[in-house]
Subunit: 257 residues, 2 copies
């Protein structure tokens, strides 16, 4: 086998710095501009991973803590966890159920069906005294950004809105997809032959989560302001299915709730 035979798939992942995002900003236009200024541009088939916090900001899903009047339940849970009662109030409003509480950790199921810490309500990177909530419909957020990028550039891309989730069994959070558009979220390899021709019975891969995780490698640390990554060279299947329908596991299918 010579070099050509050996050379296999190669993908590139690069980060884009954005100016501070404010409510009503045209996030897609900011991304297109940042991509042009970086010299990379946007190409047909790129996967764009956009951090939830800038999507929430552009969509006005940011609140001052002073706008939140804590309920009795919020006050009690705040006392138990040592959190700000107004932060807890936001967490409870975004949740359909509190699943676990230990120390300062509150794990909920959000209205979208995500199981995560604090219903995704975050005090980081939004300014003192403010909280960011998850987008109301992150699949729709992804679809709008994708549509606007098509409008501005003529390019068809996939868009993933990402957030950092802790996991049972393993320490540390990883970036996952909370919304997606233009890409089949879960690749189904069942029925395909393995190296020896044996038919695979159970392999399904959540590629949107793997792409979100790859993106965080360039988004980097808290203070760097790189909320967008472009992944180039990854061949994906196009689809109009989003994270909510393809990835979120219904409770009755879940073995650990």
């Amino acid at each position: 086998m010579g070099p050509d035979r050996q050379r296999t798939r190669r993908i590139e992942v690069f980060g884009l710095r954005l100016p501070l995002v404010r409510e009503g900003d045209d996030l897609a236009a900011m991304i297109v501009r940042a991509a042009e200024e970086s010299g990379t541009g946007i190409e047909e088939g790129d996967v764009l991973v956009v951090s939830q916090v800038v999507v929430s900001k552009a969509e006005g899903r940011v609140l001052p803590l002073t706008a939140l009047e804590p309920s009795e339940e919020a006050l009690s849970l705040a006392a138990r966890t040592g959190k700000d009662p107004r932060h807890v109030e936001a967490i409870l409003r975004e949740a359909v159920e509190v699943l676990r509480v230990r120390g300062e950790v509150i794990i909920t199921e959000t209205r979208h069906g995500f199981v995560c810490a604090n219903s995704g309500v975050d005090l980081s990177n939004v300014g003192e005294g403010m909280v960011s909530l998850l987008p109301l419909d992150p699949d729709l957020s992804a679809r709008r950004i994708r549509g606007r990028i098509r409008e501005l550039t003529g390019k068809e891309v996939a868009v993933i809105v990402s957030d950092s989730h802790g996991r049972p069994f393993r320490r540390g959070a990883v970036n996952v997809a909370i919304g997606s558009s233009g890409i089949e979220p879960v690749l189904d390899l069942r029925g395909r032959p393995d190296l020896y021709g044996r038919i695979l019975r159970s392999k399904q891969i959540c590629v949107v989560d793997e792409l979100a995780s790859a993106a965080e490698l360039v988004m980097g640390n808290a203070d760097e302001g790189i909320p967008v990554a472009i992944i180039r060279g990854y061949e994906y299947r196009r689809s109009e299915l989003g994270v909510r329908d393809a990835v979120v596991r219904p409770r009755e299918e879940d073995l650990f709730r």
Copy 2:
């Protein structure tokens, strides 16, 4: 901000095809050769992600099903799940506990502390009538490959041994690190300032899992035989800590067991 200011971090991920691996093979030497033939070579600071199945093969962690005499418990669990009783026997031998059983799914905690389907015992990509078991000590496997690559090339790299794990709450498996060497597995950002100078209280990122997930994007589908990925351009902290000590969450710390 001009192009230079805008250009941020960029990483590359590429796959390496290997010949079929057999017990006793010098896997590190095969990787070095494949990297040379592909024209990429191996560079100082590369992260090498190696799929568990080739590590298990090289280490002789592959058994014929006929070598496994099913216990009463294996027979009963096989009847319940529709699996081959000898496959179930291997799953039980690798487990410290069976955590969940539903349909044909058996979730166990392995001797390493991983919570995964079938104790990581796999019938895929090992040939008809054979099963692969996880390496006995995947951190040690990673350390040995890393040492041997240093010996062969003079380059210091990080090595991750990866496997595909399903998750609670979300559909589809993702590639995670089951062993690592030369890289700090979990990046701790607590105490660092966010964009607005607010000190982060809770951010820890499992970078070895994110790297493993990024790698699967080029390892691709079952029938392609790309068991190794090189990730180039990712700046990591060096460490001698492995997955077992840094990532595996002890039961008493886990909210979902």
